[in-house]
């Protein structure tokens, strides 16, 4: 066991864990954050997507010992059910979930896009979301939700 100091959603945490433990397990089990999900452990599905230093990463592939001082953001950092963030609200407005297991990862993947590319084209959204798998077939709604969030954010900036 080693102690790691992590910055997650703007808060500092000290975590005692084995160095090879992937970030996903630290988030879920040590920090009790439900958002990132175990899907494959192979970096193939995106259920565990979080943002690290502004980039989307699959947290099942990131050993805790490799994180260093890089800031981690999860879906919990965007807002809660009492006060959802813009992307979360867009997913609620579009009812863009069925089972919802992939959705937190989808939202973080989309969040990374909108931070860099505030007014993405539909083709850019599709290409960017491609690493993330959904099995319920909610894709059309997910695309609409990302579009909606982008539009809301762009309008907000113009005001």
């Amino acid at each position: 066991m080693t102690t790691y100091r992590l910055q997650v959603n703007g808060k500092r945490h000290a975590v005692d864990t084995d160095p090879d433990t992937p970030l996903l397990y630290v988030l879920r089990n040590d920090l009790a954050l439900n958002g990132a999900k175990f899907g494959c452990g192979l970096g193939q599905c995106g259920s565990c997507t979080v943002i690290m230093d502004g980039k989307p990463v699959m947290s099942c592939l990131v050993p805790v010992s490799s994180i260093g001082t890089r800031a981690v953001r999860t879906v919990e950092g965007l807002g809660g059910s009492d006060k959802p963030g813009v992307l979360q609200q867009a997913f609620i407005d579009e009812q863009a979930a069925q089972c919802g297991y992939c959705i937190a990862g989808m939202i973080m993947q989309a969040s990374a896009l909108l931070e860099k590319t505030p007014a993405p084209t539909d083709a850019q959204i599709r290409a960017h979301m491609s690493p993330n798998l959904c099995r319920c077939g909610t894709h059309m709604r997910i695309l609409r939700a990302v579009r909606r969030a982008a539009d809301v954010l762009v309008k907000g900036e113009k005001r």
Partner: protein, 728 residues
């Protein structure tokens, strides 16, 4: 004497409490909705507390299909109260009615109908109580927001009226008259109550359960179903930090640790420490057709009408579907705890009551020593590994009593060991008469089981791996009209001369069970592809050809609506593109679904992409229109994934498709540009369910569109790039 029996005696003694609704005499033909007949006590479904809390109980489970929200809407309207005032308790063997499986698109038909009926009678009963309390006739009372108001202004709330056993009454068959005033919930696209937690990282899934003192376990599966464990050295594994126990019982091998990733690592080491004998026990055939046709079958005619017709033009074709996966995004998970000889199992099983029965047999205990509580999991789309992982957790809880044991499968476990969707072969022969109508239809479907759900311990994977293994019970096909492998094998068209035979194969090469739509997916693919072939042979428009053979006005309406919304008559074909149509009424007794699709085919690469879809659905009375759209839209996209990409592959020894690389599913780049769902509402008509209505029609419409685009008739699923290139 059980509590229920006690109450019954109490009720029998208190004549004043027997139910005496002021309503027209009910006819003897009226029957209770099925679920209510099984659990007829009103307070088993709806409980009202003195603090005005209203709790609704359903034996069905939320699977991501939105059932919680829709059921609350039904009850809210009957009680004339806002849905937000209601709390819903779903499938829990200790608390809710037993409604069997949450499956078959039956939840609105079963639980929706039961709750509507029960809630109506609760409202009537409350009205009587209010009338007595307020000294005014029940008919003159207004009801709003859970309060009855008399003409003189007297008020009585639900909570004031129910102080004891007032709702412990048997439901009666006559439905309550409609509540006065307008409905406010049914027919509205109420936002789903489960979505906010799912998009914000709230605790929403069994995977998110974190119980005090919980430990983590992983199971090391054999390399194949036939593999035997010759030796395992557990010394090194036991030395790993955090490892609490290694459990071995026959071929069932698992490790329990104090942390989840420690369990993952220990299981990986345990897997390397295990020596397996892996015989080449799987049959190797050149294709799905040869594989399926080589299995012994029990033919049964499910339709024999008229006689064979010789006059006309004869056609025949064979269609196949490979083994396919439910392929949940989140591997299956369960938590189990054994405390003082009683088990609690948190599970995403579709049937907590049947699972409890199977676990009781597996563990050798009475059913009442086990409580199974449904907690949502990743979408299952049928019988996936939910029950199997619950069995793993229960066995490990027995081996490690006292503490909650959480087990989640790894990706390769889920892909490799879930019960697969069945490989099938459908052979069709038909005669086209000189009038351009189908004169004769012969259909043979060959299929392994589509239902090996528990019920029995032998249906649980781990139970078959123990030193004293349980044997899976002999699978049985479900009878028509719902059917299982023969679901939708009988066309919904007017066919004066027809024979349909279900060749049920009790023994599957690989374990198979219920997957969204069961046999309907392949049968509708075959029937609707062949309808397209016949239409072309008859030089008829595929939509017109279907209408020529349909009698049911509701079927005709969905076909016409889908065609109109797609712009079928005025469609202009672009290069590399084509259009296809398909229709089915799910199970021939549930929802009607028609869809028209356009695809784009790149023959050089073999890539087929669906560009747009227009669908029409009639599912009876619609409770939540957006919920229906979400289900149909999802069904179409998922079916497109099955149809374009998916097949389980295996060699003589083992399953080879064990991750998303070897078993790819649809990604964003390949999803349609547009999917429209057009609804036909039938207020007052029974709920027909929607979850599985689109699977079959979507497959056939895509294949028909591929033919329209490039003149390749694809009769073997999937229409993946390799197969498309080979056909080109």
């Amino acid at each position: 004497m059980s509590a229920d029996q006690g109450r019954r005696r109490f009720l029998a003694a208190g004549g004043a409490l027997t139910l005496s609704f002021a309503m027209p005499a009910w006819s003897a033909q009226d029957a209770l909705p099925k679920s209510l007949d099984k659990t007829p006590w009103l307070d088993a479904w709806i409980r009202i507390d003195a603090d005005e809390r209203i709790t609704v109980f359903t034996g069905k489970a939320e699977l991501g299909q939105g059932i919680k929200t829709a059921l609350l809407q039904v009850v809210a309207d009957e009680l004339r109260i806002a849905p937000g005032r209601l709390t819903l308790v779903t499938a829990d063997t200790a608390r809710t009615p037993d409604e069997g499986m949450t499956a078959g698109s039956n939840s609105m038909k079963d639980s929706g109908a039961a709750l509507r009926h029960a809630a109506g009678q609760v409202r009537m009963r409350l009205g009587e109580l209010a009338a007595a309390r307020l000294g005014a006739p029940a008919a003159g009372l207004a009801l709003k927001d859970g309060v009855f108001v008399a003409p003189d202004g007297g008020r009585a709330s639900f909570g004031q009226l129910v102080t004891g056993q007032e709702l412990h009454l048997r439901a009666t068959p006559q439905p309550a008259p409609p509540a006065p005033g307008l409905t406010t919930a049914i027919g509205q696209s109420l936002p789903r109550i489960d979505i906010p937690a799912k998009v914000t990282g709230g605790a929403a899934y069994v995977q998110d359960l974190r119980l005090p003192n919980m430990v983590h376990a992983r199971v090391v599966r054999p390399p194949s179903q036939a593999a035997t464990l010759s030796a395992v050295d557990t010394v090194a594994v036991m030395r790993l930090p955090g490892v609490l126990k290694v459990v071995r019982d026959g071929r069932f091998l698992a490790v329990i640790a104090d942390g989840e990733y420690r369990a993952v690592k220990a299981a990986a080491l345990l897997a390397r420490a295990a020596r397996w004998e892996t015989p080449a026990a799987l049959p190797v055939h050149p294709d799905v057709k040869a594989l399926v046709m080589a299995q012994p079958a029990e033919p049964a005619n499910i339709l024999e009408r008229g006689a064979r017709v010789q006059e006309g033009t004869h056609f025949k074709a064979t269609y196949t579907r490979p083994f396919q996966l439910h392929a949940s995004i989140g591997p299956s998970c369960a938590v189990a705890q054994l405390v003082e000889n009683r088990y609690t199992v948190w599970t995403h099983s579709q049937g907590v009551f049947p699972l409890r029965g199977a676990l009781a047999e597996l563990l050798g205990v009475q059913e009442d020593a086990i409580r199974c509580i449904h907690v949502e999991g990743s979408g299952c789309y049928g019988h996936n590994a939910a029950d199997d992982v619950a069995a793993d957790a229960a066995l490990l809880a027995r081996a490690f009593p006292g503490r909650p044991v959480r087990v989640q499968w790894m990706r390769e476990d889920e892909h490799g060991w879930e019960p697969f969707g069945a490989a099938m072969v459908a052979q069709v022969a038909a005669t086209l008469g000189p009038d351009g109508r189908i004169a004769d239809w012969q259909y043979d479907v060959f299929t392994p089981p589509h239902n090996t759900r528990p019920g029995k311990a032998g249906n649980l994977l781990a139970a078959t791996h123990l030193a004293r293994p349980f044997t899976p019970p002999r699978p049985k096909p479900s009878p028509q009209p719902e059917g299982s492998g023969d679901r939708n094998a009988i066309p919904y068209y007017r066919l004066p001369n027809a024979r349909v035979t279900h060749h049920f194969q009790p023994k599957a090469v690989l374990r198979t069970s219920a997957m969204r739509g069961l046999g309907a997916y392949c049968n509708v693919f075959a029937i609707e592809s062949f309808m397209d072939e016949l239409a072309r042979a008859a030089k008829a428009d595929p939509v017109a050809f279907r209408l020529r053979h349909l009698d049911d006005p509701r079927a005709i309406e969905v076909v016409k609506l889908a065609a109109a919304k797609f712009g079928w008559p005025e469609y202009k074909r672009q290069p590399r593109r084509g259009r296809g149509f398909a229709f089915a009424r799910y199970k021939n007794l549930a929802s009607y679904c028609a869809l028209a699709v356009e695809v784009e085919v790149a023959r050089e690469t073999g890539l087929v992409r669906v560009t747009r879809v227009s669908s029409a659905v009639d599912c009876g009375e619609i409770v939540n229109p957006d919920g229906v759209r979400n289900q149909i839209e999802g069904g179409i996209v998922q079916s497109a994934s099955w149809t374009l990409l998916e097949q389980v592959r295996f060699d003589a020894a083992r399953v080879l498709t064990v991750d998303w690389g070897s078993y790819p599913i649809l990604r964003f780049g390949q999803v349609p540009d547009k999917v429209d769902v057009h609804l036909i509402d039938r207020p007052g008509q029974p709920f027909l369910g929607t979850g599985e209505a689109a699977q079959g029609p979507a497959a056939a419409a895509i294949a028909n569109a591929v033919f329209d685009a490039c003149a390749l008739r694809m009769r073997d699923l999937p229409l993946d790039r390799a197969r498309m290139r080979k056909a080109s």
